[in-house]
Symmetry: C2
């Protein structure tokens, strides 16, 4: 007799679709009310094929939701000063409501300087220092999109955060650090683990909520998942493999995100939603209104 | 036969004195080089006796170190808009190099708006969103003074951070949250506990480095301190009592801060040092130079 149970899947595609549909309805309302559709500016330095694909996909998703996009493609030889100037111009342009600077901008670029040229009220990708700190303190502001998507997914599945031990594996500026701060603002007890953590397994085993954000295939062993844990796999490695060993983890978790189809779809949905919010505010509409 | 040992005390007074002496020497150098001493502006709303005393003490410590201070006292009836205007004026005033807005500004004031009026390059008390995020990512910037003092104290006592489990009890915007982020930037594994944490003792017992920042007398029991742990008590409660039960904790810890004389003196030392750094930069001097 085995005790194997199977976790419920935390599907991200359904919730993401609902967010996108609502954003599209609000984008249409903004266009009707003001004569101007929300507009996302995308900035890409160089022609890295993956980055070109990402930007194209994001723009296509915008168009489909009734969000205009404006692309600024810069040569790989662009300097930090030139990139800062280009982003600053978009920050000042009243026709642009959100700015997405595609990472990586290139090894010779001071990316932090470039991101900081994004005006906080247009930082719909949530990557400025201001946005990170605002969300860390539970203040209004734009979330880094993947962490924001994770928080929405947890809410969607009624996962209680208060007092529960959330373990975040990974501490990147766009994912691990902000999601930990958002979980803390949501009253979870939060532990950050990373490449220098001494005994990762012993900490992972304590996680009521586990967020894997390392970018290493099957890095988290299923046997280390606490029985009944909620497992959020934000990894997306070649071959559609996450950071968690899904097949063993699902026998212990209560809820687990699939890869793909879990966190991924939420990320782009949050980007669209935040772009629409930014546009509503900048165009003088009540961001809470518009969908009946 | 007992196994009781006694922790070494982490004295903050000696390291703080050295930081203040170095800051005073650099302030004198700045005055000689530019004809202008570093200047800290202090802003106080109302006449809360504790706040009046704090501000007076900070100004006295500045004067003693050769740092000029300028005080802006505002009536308790001051509105958020008036306070923001006053702080904005100081942010623009080239004669002011650092700005300290004394907390609390009053229940009717939007403190976040007021703090955000401090220009990042004058935020020597380290309380803006920009400063929090910069230190969270290990970037140059001003530390919130108590967390900055704690990090200096750990360095002073050669406490290894890499891979060690640091547990921060408390998550305030000026202490718990930033010190955890700084410990993470220093490669520690970091856990945040707080009032909603389910089983505090079991987490405290895992701490190689324990930072108590709750403001409740003897809240951390000595018996929960891991043998050999480094204990940083940032609490300062009536009767010179910290957040940790010192007498029992010292029998288990390897290093422990006394209260008073541990973290406290480091806080003001960091404020003075950051004011001098800010002045050096704004006056066009190399902030790394000036003390031979």
């Amino acid at each position: 007799m085995t005790q194997t149970s199977t976790a419920r899947l935390m599907d991200g595609t359904g919730p993401a679709r609902r967010i996108v549909e609502r954003s599209a309805a609000r984008a249409a309302w903004i266009s009707r009310e003001t004569g101007t559709p929300p507009c996302l500016a995308t900035v890409l330095v160089g022609d890295d094929p993956a980055s070109v694909t990402y930007v194209r996909m994001k723009r296509a998703r915008c168009e489909k939701a009734g969000i205009a996009s404006r692309h600024v493609g810069l040569p790989a030889t662009t300097t930090t000063a030139e990139l800062v100037d280009a982003v600053t111009a978009l920050s000042r342009d009243p026709g642009v409501h959100g700015i997405l600077l595609q990472h990586p901008a290139g090894p010779h670029i001071d990316e932090r300087a470039a991101f900081e040229a994004i005006a906080p009220h247009k930082d719909v990708d949530g990557l400025t220092l201001h946005s990170f700190a605002a969300k860390s303190f539970g203040l209004p502001g734009f979330a880094s999109c993947t962490p924001g998507g994770i928080m929405r997914l947890l809410a969607e599945y009624d996962v209680e955060l208060t007092g529960r031990h959330a373990v975040v594996v990974g501490r990147s500026a766009i994912l691990g650090r902000p999601v930990g701060m958002m979980l803390l603002a949501g009253d979870a007890t939060v532990t950050y683990c990373h490449s220098r953590t001494a005994d990762l397994a012993s900490i992972v085993r304590q996680a009521d909520i586990l967020v894997a954000a390392v970018g290493r295939p099957r890095f988290i062993r299923g046997e280390d998942v606490k029985p009944g844990a909620v497992v959020i796999d934000a990894g997306y490695n070649p071959g559609n493999v996450g950071d968690v060993d899904f097949e063993t983890a699902r026998t212990r978790a209560s809820l687990i995100t699939p890869v793909p189809g879990g966190v991924g779809p939420m990320t782009i949905a949050v980007l669209l939603e935040q772009t629409v919010d930014a546009a509503a505010r900048q165009l003088g509409l009540d961001p809470g209104a518009g969908v009946g």
